[in-house]
């Protein structure tokens, strides 16, 4: 990669494990890889500690004590909502790993959980700023190297296609860097298409693009239309709190059927023609207090605008959270969160979360549990993979795997060409009538437009230095959008959060996860691995004992 106007020499590093990303999943992967004895480097687009959807927010955690009845209830509670695509084997191990991880966060991480009044702690949620500050301290104590403001731009592979490192750009030093690594963990988050949903603008789907370029598959990309409720003109999303709200039309009448979970589509449909107002008027004084102490940032916009959300009406909007809170992502190929590409692991929202919540996540708690668990497994898996490499691996050739935005097939476009691409993609994925209120008649033309954008991206989008980062983000969003709508058109039914107005029913024969792969040509097929539901899991346990 070439950079014009470079002020310093390129940085060249070597590591056992390279973790791309800076949110919870990246931090857990880094921490666990270091504990497993690997020499690790973390490279984040932003700052590990403030980066990503968790740091600026607060989240419940799918934390359930190891009591069989409670665990069973926890697993069963989400199966129907997720369209029965979740997997009991994975749910059970995520519950185990999350329980252990939260214990570590309390003990080694010294996270100040609230007391439960009986000498213990309540560990069913975390406040983002504190959580990520503690994780960074843990990482520093573990002696890992952190490269902040150093977005990974592309993967490097050896001649057999195994991932052998990354190349990126340090934006505050204006210099490119390269890290040779035995294994790479992608923990770059989902893709929210620069919608300004809280903390999500670093999440542009970069990891999915890089994984696909290396040959990895994705899964569940039709489950990519999560929208969060926010006060109009604000960035602060916290949809759960709107469970205690009433929604109103412009004329002051109650918007019947509107709600935070099941009634969000009613809000979307109404927003197409008029403003929607809201008041959190079903929260009693103790719930109001719990909200204020639970997620103080929720109240920042209200307090600063001088609006009491419990007594006054305020206009709301829906912000796209895409695959940050949708469940699609890079396919997980085994229990260590490996992908189908040797040396490439995946964790957090960059990975599919269908395994724990199928085709729907209305809440962050499953994602938070998945970040801890998948980060732990991917970190350990990557460390093990790296340690098992022959010494000659340190002399592997490093072949750049990046295409779109870095190596155009035609004449390079203007340096700010990425802006036009981003706008074109947003025009297809942000509108409620296309992405949220899905219909084949609208998805088809939207996908055709996105394919045309991709052709332009591939032939002419180009950037160097900081421009390469912008170009790659735009390319990643374009690819992401095409996978989403390809899968959305392929799934000829409604399931989980994927609701088709033209195909409102669910069909048992579609109780399969859908895999997509490819960039110029996209292929889609049912996952040969069927979801393990309660019955299948019980049969499996019986056979094993």
């Amino acid at each position: 990669m070439t950079v014009t106007g470079t002020s310093s020499d390129p940085l060249d590093l070597s590591a056992g494990v390279l973790v791309a990303g800076g949110g919870p999943a990246a931090a857990w992967a880094e921490y666990k890889a270091a504990q497993a004895g690997a020499d690790v480097v973390l490279a984040d687009k932003g700052y590990c500690g403030t980066s990503g959807a968790t740091a600026s927010a607060g989240t419940g955690v799918w934390y359930v004590p190891p009591r069989p009845a409670e665990r069973e209830r926890a697993m069963a509670s989400r199966e129907a909502l997720g369209g029965h695509l979740a997997d009991r084997h994975w749910m059970a191990r995520v519950l185990d790993q999350t329980y252990e991880g939260m214990g570590e966060l309390a003990d080694a991480g010294r996270y100040p959980f609230p007391p439960d009044g009986e000498g213990g702690q309540v560990r069913r949620g975390v406040q983002g700023p504190e959580y990520m500050r503690r994780m960074r301290i843990l990482l520093r104590r573990a002696g890992v190297r952190i490269l902040d403001h150093s977005p990974v731009v592309e993967l490097l592979t050896d001649e057999d296609g195994a991932v052998a490192g990354v190349a990126g750009y340090q934006r505050q030093r204006d210099r490119p860097y390269r890290v040779r690594a035995g294994a790479v963990v992608l923990a770059t988050g989902g893709c929210a298409f620069l919608s300004r949903a809280l903390g999500c603008d670093v999440n542009t789907g970069d990891g999915a693009l890089m994984a696909a370029e290396a040959g990895a598959e994705l899964s569940g990309m039709e489950f990519s239309n999560a929208y969060a409720i926010a006060p109009e003109f604000s960035s602060v999303t916290k949809t759960a709190y709107y469970s205690f709200a009433t929604f109103y039309r412009e004329d002051g009448t109650v918007l019947e059927g509107a709600g935070s979970q099941k009634g969000r589509s009613v809000i979307a449909r109404t927003l197409l023609t008029e403003k929607v107002y809201c008041r959190i008027d079903r929260a009693g004084p103790d719930v109001q207090r719990a909200m204020r102490l639970g997620q103080p940032n929720f109240f920042l916009p209200f307090d600063r605008m001088g609006v009491d959300p419990f007594t006054r009406l305020f206009p709301v909007t829906l912000l796209l959270e895409g695959t940050v809170r949708g469940t699609g992502g890079i396919r997980v190929a085994d229990d260590e969160c490996a992908t189908s590409v040797p040396g490439l692991y995946v964790a957090g929202d960059a990975a599919t979360r269908e395994l724990v919540c199928g085709g729907f996540t209305g809440g962050g708690s499953h994602n938070a549990a998945w970040a801890i668990s998948s980060g732990t497994w991917a970190g350990r898996g990557a460390a093990r993979f790296s340690a098992a490499l022959a010494p000659s691996a340190s002399r592997r050739p490093l072949i750049p795997a990046g295409g779109a935005g870095l190596r155009p097939t035609g004449r390079p476009a203007a340096r700010d060409g990425y802006r036009e691409v981003v706008a074109a993609v947003q025009a297809e994925v942000h509108p409620y009538e296309k992405n949220y209120l899905r219909h084949g008649d609208r998805l088809g033309p939207a996908l055709a437009n996105l394919h045309a954008t991709w052709d332009r991206v591939r032939s002419s989008l180009y950037g160097t230095g900081a421009g390469a980062v912008h170009a790659r983000q735009a390319a990643a969003m374009t690819a992401h959008a095409r996978w989403m709508y390809t899968a959305a058109l392929a799934r000829q039914e409604s399931r989980g959060m994927h609701k088709r107005e033209d195909l409102p029913g669910s069909d048992e024969s579609w109780r399969r996860r859908l895999l997509v792969e490819g960039l110029d040509e996209i292929r889609v097929r049912p996952d040969p691995v069927a979801p393990v539901g309660p019955q299948e899991y019980a049969d499996h346990l019986r056979a094993a004992s």
Binding site: Q127, D148, S260, R289, A290, G294, Q295, G362
Partner: protein, 140 residues
Amino acid sequence: MIEIVSRDRCVRCDICVKVCPMDVFEPGTDGVPVIARQPDCQTCFMCEAHCPADALFVAPLAGPAPAGSPYTDEAALVASGAMGRYRHVIGWGRGRTPGSRLDKNFVFTARLAASGGEGPSRTDASGDDAGVSERQPEAS
């Protein structure tokens, strides 16, 4: 979006330059960081939380504040106590209790679960503890 770096309060530590996940700030020639790329600001309030001098103010708007907006009036914001407020409520800074220690989100989630996940009916906002179950929270 970020609107104010207070010259009076700034201690020239460059922490905001370091912690902003969107790389919005740049070190200033006189040591006071400048807002170099405001359109990139994602309004996440993280710079405010990390500023040890309460010198920053992020307006609650996802776009830039219009000219003459109260969100750019530093003297008024200082007088109203808005600057540093967020850091205060999350309990960062010497002698403060971490906000997470006081977290009562579990009360909210228990109440939400008790209502079947969709919140109470409009006539049921009394706030008594009856029927709180151990069902898992739906927090997001």
